[in-house]
């Protein structure tokens, strides 16, 4: 297997994969949100990524991947609303900014971008790991990506590790007591339910692995 060519097209493909995977899981995400929130996470994320897909399709080519991500993030901010809109919008915009104007993304920059994304979410939402939010899927994913690369893994391996970490992190939210977001209003009653935002985060990380792996 040759070196991966992660570029603007990869990012567009990632966003399309997010759109389809989330639309497919829409009802599931909404059910998770119904249990400890307000039953809109599925429609929020579906609406947002559908808008991103449409927006990216309308662009002329030639944008570097970082700019594509910034555009995607801004589109999420403008179309999602709720907690997840600003948080995911910020995540993608921060990731995009960290990529600068580069035409292709090196594995190390990918790790930088994911860390920047998580940092943006934490800065805006002030959630700590363990608070039962998307951070509980995203932080382990970013950590695993970096660790795999540091350990000599290639991008494919590192993204697989990130995906596994995100999924583990997602499942780990089940026993947590929510301290941020709407689920926190439930107090003890939030325990025993998987966080919807951590679930969509795991879906988005899995879509990234798929987008990069599908590199022709």
């Amino acid at each position: 297997m040759g070196p991966l060519n992660v570029n603007a097209e990869t990012v567009s493909r990632w966003m399309s994969l997010c759109a389809s995977a989330i639309a497919e899981q829409r009802d599931y995400l909404t059910q998770l949100d119904a249990a400890i929130g307000d039953a809109d996470h599925g429609s929020n994320m579906t609406r947002g990524f559908a808008a991103v897909e449409e927006k990216l399709a309308s662009l002329d080519g030639g944008m570097p991947p970082g700019k594509v991500l910034i555009t995607a993030g801004s589109t999420l901010v403008s179309t999602v609303g709720g907690a997840s809109g600003p948080l995911w919008g910020t995540a993608l915009r921060r990731a995009g900014r960290s990529l600068g104007d580069a035409e292709t993304i090196e594995p190390a920059s990918l790790a930088d971008a994911m860390e920047a994304a998580v940092a943006g979410v934490v800065e805006l939402g002030a959630a700590q790991p363990g608070d039962k939010t998307m951070v509980d899927a995203l932080q382990p994913a970013a950590d695993a990506l970096r660790a795999a690369l540091n350990g000599g893994g290639n991008a494919t391996q590192a993204l697989a590790a990130a995906r596994t970490a995100a999924e583990d992190g997602m499942r780990a939210t089940v026993p947590m007591l929510a301290r941020k977001g709407r689920a926190s209003y439930l107090g003890e009653r939030s325990i025993g339910h998987q966080d919807p935002g951590a679930t969509s985060a795991a879906i988005i990380v899995a879509a990234l692995e798929q987008a990069v792996g599908a590199e022709p």
Binding site: A39, G42, V77, P86, G125, R182, Y185
Partner: protein, 340 residues
């Protein structure tokens, strides 16, 4: 007990198009009072921007009607931003609303304390400021069912929001400066406490069925306005006991002195008949009387709802002369109107 199979029927065409169609209905029903910006999902006071007056903007997810669109008009809001059902609006809406109502004296954002609302309003305020609008924000967090803490999302904004919109709106109408108007909203938030109880769940157009299950003899104690379950579940009880359950945490937090005059607001969550809301108000009146608190102003009805949820919330606001006068000042909106 599972009610997963239960269906809640609705008058809709397309679940994804409910809000714009309802906004078109508002525009058709209240010409002269408001205009509607369908692209940005805004309800705007017909004569906005009012030159020299502080503009008031609020907003939030839809499904809480008449909040906020029903409170746009003279003496209350200048614009309301409507999000998807139970979903905070997006920053672009708040920016567009702020620009549309800025009469040169700045714009106040009245924001209910939910993560989504807080973040989107914050970004919206930044966008508006980038375009030269002076913005101040006040956060409403009056729901004593939620424990406050630095490390959580904090209390929710519920019933006091209606009161803040009315009272700050009156201050703006009377020529108050941006900081004076913001101070009134803050004062309302400081002096008001709320608590809600649900007897049933509700269904969003896209959820199709009830958001949570509730046994035939159970009630949700400490609910918000987004169909989320409450702090705890209790056995259904006579109205008298439920009102005790609701007043206790409110009074514990508000600690009114003997002889305090309050505005008592018994709010329906959407699916409770007005008959029962007045019965609850009677209980509130009796129980407050027993504790030496007297009701000087009142509001009874469905003002901040959770779709068709059966339930009610109680909000008490400690009055002083300023707030009483602001309450009595004219207001002309679709849902609250007097003096005009």
């Amino acid at each position: 007990m599972s009610v997963a199979a239960q269906v809640v029927k609705k008058f809709i065409n397309d679940p994804d198009n409910v809000v714009p169609e309802a906004l078109a209905g508002i525009a058709a029903a209240h010409p002269g009072l408001v205009r509607v910006d369908l692209e940005n999902q805004l309800v705007i006071r017909a004569d906005a921007p009012v030159q020299g007056k502080v503009g008031l903007v609020s907003g939030g997810g839809s499904g809480h009607e008449p909040l906020h669109g029903g409170f746009v008009g003279l003496g209350m809001l200048d614009a309301a931003c409507a999000g998807a059902v139970f979903t905070s609006p997006v920053p672009d809406q708040m920016a567009a609303a702020s620009k549309a109502v800025d009469g040169g004296a700045g714009v106040l954002h009245i924001v209910k304390n939910y993560t989504g609302d807080v973040l989107n309003f914050k970004m919206g305020a930044e966008l508006a400021e980038d375009e030269g609008v002076e913005v101040a924000s006040v956060l409403m967090d009056d729901d004593v069912a939620v424990q406050d803490s630095l490390y959580t999302a904090g209390r929710r904004g519920v019933g006091a929001t209606v009161l803040a919109e009315k009272l700050a709106g009156a201050r703006a109408e009377a020529g108050g400066s941006l900081s004076e108007v913001a101070d009134v909203a803050k004062k309302v938030n400081d002096r008001a406490r709320s608590f809600g109880v649900a007897l049933s769940s509700c269904a969003t157009p896209s959820s199709g069925g009830p958001i949570f299950d509730l046994g035939p003899d159970e009630i949700e104690v400490g609910v918000g306005i987004h169909g989320e379950p409450g702090r705890r579940r209790a056995k259904h009880a006579p109205a008298k006991e439920i009102v005790e359950m609701m007043l206790e945490p409110i009074l514990e937090d508000l600690r009114p002195q003997d002889g305090t005059k309050v505005l008592a607001f018994v709010n329906g969550l959407g699916g409770t008949p007005l008959l029962e809301l007045y019965l609850l108000f009677n209980e509130v009146n009796l129980q407050l009387g027993d504790r030496g608190v007297s009701i000087a102003r009142s509001l009874v009805g469905n003002y901040i709802t959770s779709l068709e949820m059966a339930g009610a919330s109680i909000t008490l606001l400690t009055l002083d002369d300023q707030l009483t006068a602001l309450w009595d000042a004219p207001v002309q909106t679709a849902a609250l109107r007097w003096g005009r």
